[in-house]
Structure formats: C-alpha cells, structure tokens
Amino acid sequence: MRQYFKNIFVAIWTILIGLKLTFKHLFVRAVTIQYPDVKLKLPDRARNRLYVNIDDCIGCRQCEMACPVDCITIETVKALPNEDLGVTSTGHKKRLWVTKFDIDISKCCYCGLCVYPCPTECIYMTDVYEFSEYNRHNLIYHFSNFTPEEAELKKKEVEQFELEQKMKKAKPAEQVTVNNPENIEKKS
C-alpha cells in the first residue's frame, strides 16, 4: 500500500521535473527558422545541384567514369584540323566538340565524386537546392551548346572529313605500291 502511494508520488514528482524543464524552454530563443521566408546560408563546401561550365569542358569523360550511378552522359566529336576550339580558362587545349553533356539530376546521389577528377574544374556542385519540377524530364539537364540536330550535323561533317582523309591516304598508297618497283621489291 505504502509502495503504491510512493510510486504515484514519484511519478508525479518526475513529471513535475519535466514540466519545469519544458516551461523553462518557453523563454529560450527558438532554434527553428521559417523556412521559405528565411533561409540559412549554406557553407562553401555545400554539395547540391551540379553545374557544368561547358566552355571549360575538354570532353575527357573523367566525371562520367567517376559517377557511381551513371547519371552523366557525354558524347564528343573530334575537332577538324581547321577548327580551333581555343583553350580553357585553366590553359588546357580543347580538342573535342562536346556535342552532348547531359546530367540526369534525378539520378544524382550528390556524392561529389565527379568533381575531383575534373582536370579543368569545370564541373562542380553549387548551393542551389530548390529545383523541383512538375515534369521529370525537365530534371535532365543539357549543358552542351549543341542542339541534337547540330550535334548530328557535326558528326556527319567529321565523318565526311574522315572519309576524305581515308580516300586521300588510300590513293597515294595505291600509287606507291603499284608504280614504284622498289617498294614491291621491299615487300616481297
């Protein structure tokens, strides 16, 4: 019987201790913020939406290789000898047209592994974290300056050029093997 009342007393007493504590917290400054109206500043190293500075991209595909979830798709086309693509801001010579640089941000796991191997530091994570979309296809970001049609044109152009090169190479080679007796002797 005595224990029974003692238990009740202890229960009420410990509840009162708790109530005292929570009452104290009425006068403590709130730690929460009203999110859409007030936003915290993210630290410099914050890892959120990926961004690619395509002007600096040399199309080396290091980021594509590093991605554990394969959310980066890159297609490149070789530049023709008469085209000068210039250099990146870090001084690397650009040799490839980057005809496609797509990042499916809905697949991205924000691990940041693509950022470190980039030789020109053109792919990096920004502090943008609000990028919801109504259509999921809008979450595939196209960073390349080429539209798909232009990319197709470029590809054809290069194919054409390579074909010409081949023809050019093939022709003198034939002449050499047929007309020059020294060559025939050497071969035999």
Binding site: I17, R45, A46, A66
Partner: protein, 385 residues
C-alpha cells in the same frame, strides 16, 4: 512489469481461445522503417514474433561488385546505416586500406576518430529521441534533434553533406577540417553535457519511462553472445566488449575512456532501460574522446596518402569496427587485376541484433514490443542493405 504465463484459458461457451496472428508493419511508426513483424498473440500476450525483412533491399553487395573502382562503393556504403554513415565509411575504408597495406597520416586518423565519435553521438541522439517518441515522450525527441543538428552542421561545413557524407576516402579524407570547425566543435562540447542532463531529467529518470522500460525485454548475457549481438545491445546485458578497447583500430588506444555496461540500475541487467542508458553514457564517453582527440590533433596533409589508383593485390580481408549500433564488418575479396572488388560482404549490426528480437519479446504485451524494438535500435537500411 511481470511476464505473463501463456495458458489456454477455459472460457465458457464456444469462444475461440486460439492464438491469433497480427501483422505489425511494414508501415508502422514504431518499426523505424519498413519492417513487418508477424506477431502470434494470445490475447495481448506475445507468443512469438517473426520479423519479415527485405522491403528495403537494394542489392548493396552486388552493386559493389559492379562499380568501376573501390572509391565508388563509398556512397553505397553510406546508404546502409544512413544515420551513422561516417562509421560505415570508416569500416569499409579501413578494410580497403588493410587490403592495400597503406599507412595513413596521423592527422587523418585523428580526424577520422573525431568524425566517428561525433557520428556516434548523433546516432545515439536519434536512437534515444525516437525511443522516447515510441513511448509517448515527444519533447526529448525535439531536443535530441536540436543537438543532432549541431553535429550535422559540423559535418556540413567539413564535407558539404549532412547525411551521406562520402567524406572518408581510401588513404585520407576528402577535405581538411575548415578553419571554423574548432570553434564550433568547442561550442558543442561545452553546451552538450547541459543538454544531455536536461534529456536525462526529462526522460531517463522519468518514472513513467522507467516503468515502461525496466524489466522489459530482458536479454541475458549468454543469449546475447549466442545470437552474436554487439554494441549497446551486448553491453546493455553487462558484457564489457567494445572493439575500440578490445581490438583498437585507428588511434583509439591513445585515449582514455570507459565502456559503459548495463548494471540493472532500475530493474534486471539487460532490460530495455539498461540498453537505453548505455547509449546515454556512451555519448558522454564519446565526448571525452573528442576532447582528447581535438587536443592531440597533429598538423599535416590529409591528402598525402590517397593513392592515385586503388588496385589492391589479390587477397581477402575482413575488418570490423565499432559502429554506434554495434560491430560492423566488411569482408572484401580482390581478384588482383580489376579495379573493383570481386566480392563485398557486410556484417550489419542491426541485422544481427534484430535476430534476437523473438527471443526477448516472448511473454510480454504488444505494447511492450514497441519498447523492445525501440531499444534494439535498428536501421532498416542496414538490416536489408
């Protein structure tokens, strides 16, 4: 609270007195994720519990084999025990480093210790916060999250992510500590004991909380060892086993700290309250470790030992560390010529700890099962992997 003997009561008429099967979960607030418990109940008394797992299975081990290098596995490792991602990374990275046979700089080791211990505090805060929530105490949950937030902020300024860090790399860490880290850490170390005392006053020594948890779900030491339990589960039963002391890795042998064990202060040794209190005291010990590690932190370069290419020689390795939930181990086989692991097997503490649940919940009421499951502290991401 006493256990009830299971008897078939004689009821007049043709009332059915058989046992009944009741499904708890997979969408149940107190199962901490997608876990389905098939309860065989006799009235309100539990006759048997059959956990059904696999709702969150993501083929971690197979994924790890499909990666193109060892580094890419780390984001997947993060997603196992997602409330203690640092600890998972640490275990995996240490296993790979053992396979490679590389020595990391001292500064890296100290940073790793600080991070792992901060993570332990954060994880235990979540554990005790949600445990209170399970038993109807809402305020401690918010206070725990407020404190946890400070740790996540520390992680965020260091590596940029709040939950899935990808911070600990093979041979080093991704970033050195930022300049403002020390100040923020000291602030946290100063304010946290006070906050912990408040939580103790409000929840730990509350009579209602004690009545709900003491003498409930008693796990005797021999059963715990037989089932392979580890972490606070094992220590709650009074077994003093902690890999940080028994098998020191990193620089843990340089710090002074105790291993709290369950003493049966409020009831029997190995009850829910003991497991809960071991977690609370472990946080205090972690604080001690962090303080010492911060004082001893040597200068140096954190990137110097990161290998250009991780291509371990042929062989296999098993490495285990003490995660907040228990002993996490990685077994890695390398075939010697490819840059990705041939096989990765993870020993997840939550999975092993969950296996003892039927054993310790027989004979208690359904309402007690919530308390027991909460004290096991499982993370379904790790149970299912």
């Amino acid at each position: 609270m006493a256990t009830f003997e299971i008897t078939t009561r004689s009821v007049k008429g043709d009332l059915k007195t058989d046992t009944m099967i009741l499904n708890m979960g997979p969408q149940h607030p107190s199962t901490h994720g997608v876990l389905r418990l098939e309860l065989v109940v006799d009235g309100e008394v539990i006759v048997d519990v059959i956990p059904h797992i696999g709702y969150l299975h993501r083929c971690f081990e197979k994924h790890a084999e499909q990666m193109t290098n060892y580094q890419q596995v780390i984001p997947y490792v993060d997603r196992m025990d997602y409330v203690a991602a640092m600890g998972n990374e640490l275990a995996y990275v240490l296993a790979v480093e053992k396979l490679l046979g590389i020595e990391v700089p001292e500064r890296v080791q100290y940073i790793r210790v600080i991070m792992a211990e901060l993570q332990r505090i954060a994880s235990h805060l979540l554990a005790i916060g949600t445990y209170g929530l399970d038993l109807g105490a809402f305020t401690p949950f918010l206070w725990c999250f407020r404190e946890r937030e400070k740790i996540l902020d520390l992680f965020e300024i260091t590596c940029g992510a709040r939950l899935l860090y990808n911070y600990i790399w093979v041979g080093g860490v991704s970033h050195d500590l930022p300049s403002e880290f020390g100040k923020k850490l000291k602030d946290f170390l100063k304010t946290f004991p006070k906050a912990l005392k408040e939580i103790n006053d409000l929840l730990t020594f509350n009579k209602i909380f004690i009545d709900r948890t003491a003498n409930v779900g008693v796990l005797p030491a021999d059963v715990a060892i037989n089932y392979g339990c580890s972490g606070p589960m094992l220590r709650g039963s009074g077994v003093k086993f902690d890999l940080r002391k028994n098998e020191p890795y990193l620089v843990y042998d340089r710090f002074e700290f105790d291993i709290p064990v369950g003493e049966g202060k409020m009831g029997t040794v190995g009850d829910c309250w003991d497991r809960y209190y071991v977690r609370v005291r472990e946080m205090e010990e972690s604080l001690k470790i962090i303080e010492q590690a911060w004082e001893q932190l040597p200068p140096g370069d954190v990137h110097s030992a990161i290998p250009k290419k991780v291509r371990p020689p042929q062989g296999e390795v098993y490495f285990r560390t003490e995660n907040p939930r228990g002993e996490i181990g990685f077994y890695i086989i390398s075939d010697g010529h490819s840059a990705s692991p041939f096989r990765v097997k993870a020993r997840a503490p939550s999975f092993v700890n969950l296996s003892v649940l039927p054993e310790i919940s027989r004979g208690y009421m359904i309402a007690d099962l919530v308390a027991i499951l909460g004290s096991v502290d499982i993370v379904l991401g790790e149970v299912d992997r």
